[in-house]
Amino acid sequence: MSAAAEAHHGPPPIHYSSRISPAVLGMFLFIASEIMLFGSFFTVYFFDRVANHGVNGHWPPPGFHRPVFSTFINTLILVTSSGTMHWATMAIKRGNRAGLQAGLLLTWLLGVTFLFTQIVEYHRLGFNTGDTSFAATFFGLTGLHGAHVLVGLTILLVMTIRAFRGHFSPEHHHGVEIGGIYWHFVDVMWIVVFVTVYVL
């Protein structure tokens, strides 16, 4: 063993090329795994839709009503939260701490409103997960997204607490940046779910 190796303690030094940095690779793998996860749920939904539509000629099946208008308002709430998230990121990049705090707090409140509204809608739907395959896929897709919102809200809460405790600066705000990317991803996935499940 060489002298340098003997003197070195701990894990080996990190080596990577600018061709694929760990952060970018990690984000790619994360997105790929999420696409596969949501993709499997969408596959089941579309299979069920094609199979049942051919039999009954109606989608959703008779007796099932989707709350399109209230969910559309909920969608606007989530899209607005993406705007406030972007405002928070821009604010800390300019050194505006009050803007960061207000942006994160608003984003969190809008996210909580979205999730709360979705739970209320679940109670008003009049059907449950065991009522036909449509109900199962409906709750599966929207519930999967709801779980992502819950994770996003947890991340946002930590970011907000950190912002109020004086963390983050124009030079060091990686935590806000990464959390913002995740929140926008959750927003994008909801737009896909909303259009697929509620509109088309």
């Binding site: 090329s17 600018s18 998230m85 259009v195």
Partner: protein
């Protein structure tokens, strides 16, 4: 393909693109179901073209190095198996032209694509490190001021990485002779000339001929 979630700003822009994408599909769908499908196909094709195909064709940014002091000549050498060849040492001495030559050697860690993407490159880096150590020793033995590092498996990418920390006056890429060099097959010399605004000299090292002589 550019990752749309590389930064918060990119992700926010992507949100709006997705909204526009689905709004157009929904409008088309409510006019006529087949129109909605057509809008979906057209927009998805356009997205793939802009995101994947157009991204591949983008010309890379040419990097212009800062000039070095008049009495110093900085040379960036990129070589792998041929890094210890006598032709390369001769070329470096000739290129310095009596000035103090500062040589920076990059040995790309050649690896298979699967091993690269799974970060299994310890063996490749160890082999490149051995070649680099031998090369630096031979250059220092003939009076050259030499330093070096292990580079990316793609020699063009290895040059780009090295240019971030070392500003050369010229670039020397050493390869096996045509017919035996994978780098020449892959057009490494042409790609490097197109990509970097640094004079590039291609040195052919025939290790088999050197061994027989």
């Amino acid at each position: 393909m550019k990752n749309p979630f590389r930064s918060e700003r990119d992700a926010f822009r992507f949100v709006w693109l997705v909204i526009g994408y689905f709004v157009l599909i929904v409008i088309g769908y409510y006019i006529d179901h087949w129109l909605g499908l057509a809008v979906f196909v057209v927009l998805s094709s356009a997205a793939i073209w802009f995101g994947v195909l157009r991204g591949r064709g983008e010309r890379p940014v040419r990097q212009v190095p800062a000039p070095s002091p008049a009495d110093e000549h900085r040379i960036l050498v990129v070589a792998n198996e041929t890094v210890g060849g006598p032709e390369l040492l001769t070329e470096i001495r000739e290129r310095s032209g009596g000035r103090t030559a500062r040589v920076f050697v990059v040995c790309p860690a050649l690896n298979t694509p699967i091993k690269t993407w799974t970060s299994d490159e310890d063996q490749a880096r160890a082999a490149a490190q051995r070649r680099l150590d031998d090369s630096l020793a031979s250059m220092r033995s003939v009076g050259l001021e030499a330093a070096g590092e292990i580079g990316d498996g793609d020699p063009v990418q290895a040059i780009e990485d090295a240019l971030r920390t070392f500003r050369p006056d010229e670039l020397i890429v050493s390869t096996h002779p045509p017919g035996r060099s994978r780098w020449l097959e892959r057009g490494v010399i042409e790609r490097a000339r197109e990509r970097f605004a640094v004079p590039l000299t291609h040195v052919v090292v025939d290790l088999d001929a050197d061994r027989t002589t």
